[in-house]
Structure formats: structure tokens, C-alpha cells
Symmetry: C2
Subunit: 427 residues, 2 copies
Amino acid sequence: MSEKKRIGIAGLGTVGAQVVARLLAGAVPGAVVTAVSARDAKRDRGVDLSAQRFVANPLDLAAAEDVDVVVELMGGEGGAALELVQAALRAGKPVVTANKAMLAAHAEGLSDLSCVSPPVPLAFEAAVAGGIPVIKALREGMAGNEISRLSGILNGTCNYILSRMEVAKLSFEEALKEAQEKGFAEADPFLDVSGTDAGQKLVILSALGFGVAPNMAHVSITGIEQIAAQDISFAASFDSVIRLVAMAERRAETGGVFHQVMPMLVKKPASLAQVGNELNALKIEAEPVGSIFLQGPGAGGGATASAVLADISDIVQGFGRALFSKPTSAMKESASPKPPASEYYLRLALADKPGSMAKATQILAENGVSIEEVVQRSSQAGDRFLPVVFITHHCENSALRAALEALQSQQDICNEVLALPVFAEEM
Amino acid sequence: MSEKKRIGIAGLGTVGAQVVARLLAGAVPGAVVTAVSARDAKRDRGVDLSAQRFVANPLDLAAAEDVDVVVELMGGEGGAALELVQAALRAGKPVVTANKAMLAAHAEGLSDLSCVSPPVPLAFEAAVAGGIPVIKALREGMAGNEISRLSGILNGTCNYILSRMEVAKLSFEEALKEAQEKGFAEADPFLDVSGTDAGQKLVILSALGFGVAPNMAHVSITGIEQIAAQDISFAASFDSVIRLVAMAERRAETGGVFHQVMPMLVKKPASLAQVGNELNALKIEAEPVGSIFLQGPGAGGGATASAVLADISDIVQGFGRALFSKPTSAMKESASPKPPASEYYLRLALADKPGSMAKATQILAENGVSIEEVVQRSSQAGDRFLPVVFITHHCENSALRAALEALQSQQDICNEVLALPVFAEEM
């Protein structure tokens, strides 16, 4: 065995501390931790760091003579994390990061620094789906395939909330509170529940699967804040659940790749419907392989540390790879703004008076939206508006939007609308 | 890009023809097919081979000056396939193979030829679980983890038969016949239904996950021939299904790794119970990652070709790896003959006369096997023996075997016994 690679780690939170502890225990034979950096040098992290050099300024790891590989676990889209990664790549030092926000926002600059000759590896397995080796499966395991669709549950916080609303009949607010208490959601849950975090992961996967340069502006993002307990209950009456699905799909007719993060109705036999609680999952549809499904823990110290260790192992064995294999400027695939046709779950609040239903269905029909199933629940005395749910046949998104606009202009008949696409198990 | 790697392919069956067609279509940018070998040079395989050199004797690919990488898709445990792979490795040429029988039987010799300095890559993603990148996930994606258990559905033929018995209420024989008609089972189904094929795949996974040198003698193998329609139906009454589970488990108490291929009762919420028809799946339990689940097509031309293309892609990019990373002689982990304690599904044929049940339950109790649930179905007039099913509490395998022996010695009371372990979702 040649000399061990010397690892410098910036960020000693839950993940960083676990990575260091396992490296010290010999989890990756070819790696030795020589230097660490964190805000607070003195904090007890349950790991003996007396043999490691403590570096006050993380940026110094890039230039340090006793560091061959830089591991960035500080987080943050820009700032010190970005500066460190850029400096390390410029110094020709391989980098391991778990930072999806940084990769989604700065893919162009980082791929330029990584895809030089010879390439400087920039590994990021931990950035998407935590401990599930989705980067490896997609980039390497599916090499030689043509990917047609990626559909994933990429945010454990949202999946936990939706699962608890389903299983324990909680409201969104109650489920969010429980997720926060259990450590599955941040004090400020915006990045998670808004779908932003899942969108960042999706553009990274899309770069690998389709060769579309990451760009958050390509992703149509809707969060789960608008999902009510009644939607979970209506979904169940269609033998379905609601999942926040991150989806990238090659559009054969219009060209380009459509990107969307959105709560969707998922029929229960589908793999994605089986993904419960804080788990993550990714379904890869490709030719010639068919459909591959991966599931596991998408967050947490152990899962994320596992992915970081895998990246370190690859790099110390000489198997590190450049970010996205080529600069984003060389990626030719385009993003498509046009959503695919879909069935939809439509929840309308209809006025409890004669003719409302007739008028609503007429407006849908006039706009080319035809109805497959309807569920209406009995009214509570005094409710002026009652929820009615339709499952539509396949229709174009433009037709649906026109229908919804027409419905919402009739405020005396319909005062609220929620439309969720139905996940198509097969493309 | 440096010069393209020249690929020589031996074996042009369903998989080989697909691999060639996709390489010709540019599926792996750094690879070009220069030579092919097959029994019949003239057969129409739906792919234009006019630009490739046809080699009558596959062994010649190893020495050929126009071949950098040898792809072995002939199959067979020894013979020409083994000779070709050995000769190619000796010549320092990387090899890609889908041949699990060969790897399981000749791991020692092949690892010695591959694990030299510098290593000669021997890639085998297609040998286990077809298109699912389980080799990559386990060897690379889980690097740095300590694996505690691997449990997989690794034979699509058996899973198809068991699924059809369950869903379409077929007998074993009817389901086997259907599998043969659909091309999911060979004319001689022995290697599949006996569990041998799954065992070969399991020892390969165990070498990667646990560092146990492959040895088929380590694996306790039971096929699915003895599973009757009534077992599927009894399983359903326990909200369970029957799956042929290939399992390798680290035994903390006794040391070593236990290997078993056996039909097991799997509770329906478990991931493995969701794996239907000809699909394959692997569950990896490890520390710190937790539990990872992978599912996809385990056989068929497209799935296997996908895995072969992935291996070729790794090799042409310089990311090929030696077989098992080290010679089997350097593997130190031992196999354990002792099965873990388990709950069991016991089906007894009990005499339809007073006292039989009392006697049977007494024998179980005397041997330390305690009962959790019982199901007895109403009798058909004239049956002298009636099926009774017990689910036991956790018990040692030795206790169970003693109990079964004692039961079977009482031929007037009990004339048939089937015992299946219950799959424990968590270790």
C-alpha cells in the first residue's frame, strides 16, 4: 500500500464528528485525519482530536502542507464553504462535500475548477439522498443507459410530515412540530417544506442523468404547506398517498428535460408510496435497464457520514471523479418549461347550493378536462363551501390551468382550488 | 480524450448481442468493439457485425493485438469461459464477466490473477442481481461501513414462481410451467429452483460485504420445490408472503458469517415482501448508514447488458477494480455453520384424531419450542392427516431440529413437516 492520504476536515457538527471518529477507527484504510477546523475548538464532540492539528480558519486547509484531501462539511451556499472548495480545487486537492446548496448554485464555477487536466476530484455522494449511493448508481451504475425519468423522495422532512399526517391523522402544523421535536426538521423549516432542498438535489441528479447544467430556475417548485389533513384522507379514498416527488423527465415530444418538485398523488402499489417517514428514495427509469429503485436514510449523522466515507474511500484509492465529468458549459441538454400531460387530483371548495357541481363540471369540460372519479363528503351544518375532489383523465397542463382560472373567477361557486398531479408509475 | 479502448466480446446470446449493439451506437464513449466470438458466425442477431473481426476460438481474444478489454458472456462454470478469463488476466487485459457460477467456483484462482501489482480489473456487476448496481453499492457505496446483514431476492425465476402462486393461486408446477413459457425459467430449472444460483450470488456478495472467501460449501441451501399452494395461503393468513431469501449475517455471539438460501416467511410491510414477479432486490444493513434497499430487474438481456456496459464504462475511464480488491487467501473472515435463532413457520400434517394436537404441542414444548400462533383449516371428509400451521416464538435452530425429529418419529400422529424461518425485518 502506498502512503496514506492525509485528510483535512472543515466542519465538526454531527456529520463531521462521526466522519472523524470513524476515520480514526480505521474505517477507510488508506486515509488518516491530520487537520480539522470548526468554529469552536474546545467543544466536546465525543471524539479525541488531540492528535489532529486544529485550524482556526478553514480556508487554510486548502493550502496546508499536511492535507491531501479536503472534506467540506460546513454547509452554506456560498461564503467560507465555497471559498474553501474553490481554493482546494485550485491547489489540485480533491474535495469531498455534502453541500447540495453550494453545488446547485455554483455548478458552473466548480465544474470548471474540477474538470481540468488531470481532473481534480470533487465528490458529493452525501449531497443527495444521504446514505443511499444514488450518485454512484446513476453516474456509474447506469452508464451506457439512456435515462428517461428520475423520480425521487429527496426530502426526509417533508416525507416525515406527510407520513405522519397519513398514519397518525395529524394536521400539517402538528406533524411539522413533531418533526422538529424529533430532529427531522429545522427550527426554520422553510428550505425543506418549500421544496427548495429537494429542488437543489434534483438539479444535481439531472446533471448526472441527463447532462442538464444545474439551474434552480429550471425547476418548477411547490412545497407541502398547502396540503391539508383532508387531502391525505381524500387520497386514501383513491387508495393513494401524497408524496413530495422531485421529478426530472425527458420530454420526447417537445425536447428537453422537465424538472418539477411537487406534492403528487401516488397510488399505493407504487414503490414511492411505500417510502415512509424520514426515508428517501429514487426511482431511475432507463433504457435498456428498465426501472431501478433505491431506498434508505436520506439524512442524519450516520447516513451522511457513510456517504462521505465512501467518497473518501474512492479518492484515496485513486477512483475520484471530476464534478459532473465535464464542465457545465459543455452540457448541451436543455431544460423544458412544459410539464407533461398528467392525471390530476383536484380539490375544489364548492358552494353548498343547487347547480354548483353542474357549473364546476361544465367549466372543466369546456376546457377539455374530463373527469374519471369524484368524491364528495357529507356537509357539516353551516358550511357554505364543501370540499369536492375530482380525479381527472390525462390532460394537458395548459388545459388544466385554464379550467382552474375559469373556476376561480366564479367566486360564488368555487372559492378554493388545489391541483396535484397524479404520479404515473410507468412513463 | 485518449484513444478508445478496443473491446473483444465472447458470447453473442441475448446479452452479448445487446451489448454489441449499444456499444456500436456509442453508449460508452471511450469504447469500440473490434472483435467478437460466438459458436455460430452466421446467425442473424439483429446487429451489423460486418466491421468486427470474427474470432472462431474465443481464447484467441486474450492474445489478440486488437483487443484491450475482454468481455466474457459465454457462461458455464469452467471450460472455455474460465480459460478465456484466466488467459486475459495473465495477459494483463481487464475482463468484464456476468458469470456468477465461475466466480463462485474459481474465486481463489481468479482473485490471484486479478489482485497483482498493478491490479488487472475483473468486473462482474452483471453477475449478481442483473441491472441493479449491487456490486457498486456494496463495495463502493458502503465503503467505511461495517455490514451486519445482507438479505436479498437474487433469483428472479423463484420469485416469479412464488409471486404467481400467491397472486394467481397457481400450484408450484403450474407457476413453473408459466415461468418457462414466459422465458423466466430454463427448460431445466434445477439451478434456479434449487437455490444454487442464488447461493452463487450470495457468496460473491459476502466476499465484498464481509470479506469471506467464496465457498459454496458455506451456504445452507434449500430450494422452493417443497413450497405448496397451501403454504402461500397459510402465509397470507399471517399477513405474510413466502420469498426465497439469500442471507448472509454476521454472528456477533459465535463469530463468523452465516450464509443461507431458504424460503422464508416475510411479513407484508417488509421491503422484501413488496418485491414481485421476476424482480430482484437486496437489503444491506450496516453501521453507520442503517438500512439500504435496492430493487430492479435481476435478469434479461436489457438488465444484464446494462450492468456489462457500466463495467466497460468504468474500465475505459480507468476506474476498473481488482476482483474482491484482495486475493481470497488474504480474506480472514470465517463462515459460521450456526444459524441464528429465529421464529419459524411450521406446517405439520397431523392425524385427524383426538389427542394429535395435544401430543404435537407437547413435543414442541418439551424441546423448548414455544408457539405464538396456530392456524388449522377445516377438514375435507376422509383426510386422515390435516395441515396445521404454527408460528413459533424465537428459538434456537438446534431446538427446532430436535423437536421436528421427535415429531417425525411419531408417524401415527404427524407424517409430514415443513419448517421455514420467519424473516426478521430488523436484526
